[in-house]
């Protein structure tokens, strides 16, 4: 029993390598566009540089460097005095040059951190480094699967797209922590305006996973290097989302645990996450580090941009904004969370909260708008050009010109389903709040038509007033305010 327990008590150690596609207009070393045209043909966004034609010279995209500096700043990393590019040599047709331009021993960002909330605790994940590199092209294994295809089709439209690879310390102690980290990282990158999560393949993750004896973990949760070196680790590739990371790593941790429990060793190897089957599979071993024969890219002079850290501004980041929203607008934690996880939502909320009642604005943006968007599988970015229309809807409610019920059930839904603006819907459906004369007339009618309810009310039956309110609402087509109707009815009946 005791030995069995000992072998089962193993701590999970995970480190991540996150490839992030930067939102620049052009590729990292040439002026080709990074924006795929709708239904574009292969090899229509290329030039001599990204095709690796002889004599073509790469020139670094300033926008990519700015984006990397912003990321470094947001991750509280250093931007070293001097940073350089290297060639990573490998022979595979996704890169036409037979090498990838990347960074090696002098990356643009070093030594950062990112704080993440995992359930109720906060964890600080160390960032070892972040470096710039070019994305390869895309391959199609034609006429079968990767193993059975008889030839390969190559498209270099994606080749040269700027990437930043962010490498973490082995600080994760569970798959759930990696998911929380990646979600937070996406949030931060989106705030910086350097990343578009909706773009296909914009986030790609490799994870190093090992299990160490539970007693090797120090009191502060850190794992000493010798314990890490002793445990065999696997590198899991092909993870493409934060949800995928949690699934892939949960699978891999269980696989390693089962192997150890059965007295087998974990092979040090690279494994491929097969999303559709929900398993990791062993990949044939590829080159070792030294086989990449890294050497300095002589066509790219060094960068000295450490002073950009000061000169390039970055926006307020999600954590800071969440705290400010709570303090400034008196929001509860949940609303502040919902309203700050996407920058577009936070910007919109702030705009309407400054113009109308902040509580009303919070309910409308966090609950009604996001709820209805979510129900339709839409995001705020899908209605980015219509935000003024939603602000107008909130204005109508705030000014009492539209009842909450009609605003929610008729106008908001109509806006999302039919694409109409709020004033058009209000007019078409006759939803404008009833004016005082109309309400008074309806109250008088309701009293005249329902002598029994009136008598019940005078006998002290409180239910009767609700019946009468209902009658008035019916007569005004739901456009009256129930509270006001109630007060007006009592006034008339008590006269």
């Amino acid at each position: 029993m005791s030995t069995r327990t000992a072998t089962e008590e193993r701590a999970v150690v995970i480190g991540l390598e996150v490839h992030v596609q930067l939102e620049t207009d052009t590729k990292i070393f040439c002026g080709c566009s990074t924006e795929p045209a709708p239904d574009e043909e292969p090899n229509t966004r290329t030039c001599p540089v990204c095709l690796g034609l002889p004599g073509a010279l790469p020139v670094l995209n300033e926008g990519a460097v700015e984006a990397a500096v912003k990321i470094g700043k947001a991750l509280e990393a250093d931007i070293p005095e001097r940073t350089t590019f290297h060639r990573k040599n490998y022979y595979y047709p996704d890169l036409p040059k037979n090498f990838q331009i990347t960074q090696y021993d002098a990356p643009i960002c070093a030594d950062g951190e990112l704080e993440v909330a995992v359930e109720d605790s906060r964890r600080t994940i160390g960032i070892t480094r972040a470096h710039l590199e070019e994305d390869p092209g895309s391959l199609q294994h034609a006429g079968g699967s990767i193993d059975t295809a008889d030839h390969t089709l190559v498209d270099y439209n994606r080749a040269g797209t700027p990437l930043v690879e962010i490498v973490t310390e082995p600080d994760f102690r569970s798959p759930a922590e990696t998911r929380a980290f990646l979600a937070k990282l996406e949030e931060v990158l989106e705030y910086l305006g350097v990343f578009d999560a909706t773009r296909d393949g914009s986030l790609r993750v490799d994870a190093n996973v090992s299990l160490v004896p539970g007693e090797a973990v120090a009191d502060d949760g850190s794992v000493p290097e010798d314990a890490l070196a002793e445990a065999n680790r696997t590198e899991v590739k092909n993870i493409s989302s934060h949800k995928g990371a949690e699934k892939a790593l949960a699978y891999e941790v269980t696989r390693q645990r089962n192997a150890l429990r059965r007295g087998r060793a974990v092979d040090q190897e690279t494994r491929h996450w097969d999303e559709s089957r929900g398993i990791t599979v062993s990949m044939r071993s590829k080159e070792a580090e030294k086989d990449y024969r890294y050497f300095r890219e002589a066509d790219l002079p060094p960068l000295e941009v450490s002073d950009w850290r000061e000169s390039i501004p970055i926006p307020e980041l999600p954590d800071a904004r969440r705290e400010r929203f709570r303090a400034e607008y008196g929001l509860d934690a949940e609303s502040a969370d919902k309203l700050t996880s996407r920058k577009a939502v936070a910007d919109f909320y702030e705009d309407v909260a400054d113009r109308f009642d902040p509580d009303l604005a919070a309910t409308w943006v966090a609950d009604n708008l996001l709820g209805e968007l979510n129900y339709r599988d839409m995001a705020i970015t899908d209605v980015a050009d219509r935000l003024e229309e939603f602000a107008r809807l909130i204005e109508l409610v705030d000014a009492g010109e539209l009842t909450t019920k009609n605003a929610e059930e008729v106008v908001l839904r109509g806006m999302l389903d039919d694409g109409d603006d709020p004033d058009t819907i209000v007019e078409r459906e006759g939803l404008g709040t009833a004016d005082t004369g109309e309400v008074e007339a309806a109250v008088a009618d309701a009293i005249d038509d329902n002598p029994e309810a009136v008598a019940d009310y005078h006998d002290g039956d409180e239910g009767a007033i609700n019946f009468l309110v209902g009658q008035v609402m019916q007569r005004t087509g739901g456009s009256a305010d129930p509270g006001e109707v109630n007060a007006l009815l009592r006034e008339r009946l008590d006269e």
């Binding site: 080709c32 229509t44 034609l53 022979y91 021993d105 034609a142 390969t152 490498v167 790219l300």
Partner: protein, 116 residues
């Protein structure tokens, strides 16, 4: 790829070893295993005769590099730094221009042998 400092210093040490070996200028320092390894990295299949001939040829090539040691030192020109271009789209090649030198194409793609 993660580049742990350990792996990096190891790679640097290996590189230094290679230089030392070349400096020894002993043709027998390149053996058939080295040739096979390099051929594997380059995805090249060698004929038996080539495997036998290449160690000596490799060693000869490495010897040429020693000549560089005899080049006298000179003052380097000031090194360029921060050469960048603005993030502005420039016209590239059309699909047919891009594919013009390709040995084989298919539906706008470069076509190559099966890879794994």
């Amino acid at each position: 790829m993660s580049d742990s400092p350990d792996e990096r210093s190891e790679a640097a040490a290996d590189a230094a070893d290679t230089v030392d070996a070349a400096e020894a200028a002993d043709a027998t320092d390149v053996d058939v295993e080295d040739v096979d390894h390099v051929a594997g990295l380059a995805r090249v299949d060698l004929e038996a005769a080539e495997r036998e001939a290449f160690p000596e040829q490799f060693a000869e090539i490495l010897e040429y590099f020693e000549t560089l040691d005899e080049v006298p030192e000179f003052d380097r020109e000031a090194e360029l730094v921060n050469v960048m271009r603005p993030d502005e789209v420039r016209e590239g090649l059309t699909q047919s221009e891009a594919l013009r030198n390709a040995a084989e194409t298919e539906d706008g793609y470069f076509r190559g042998p099966r890879v794994s």
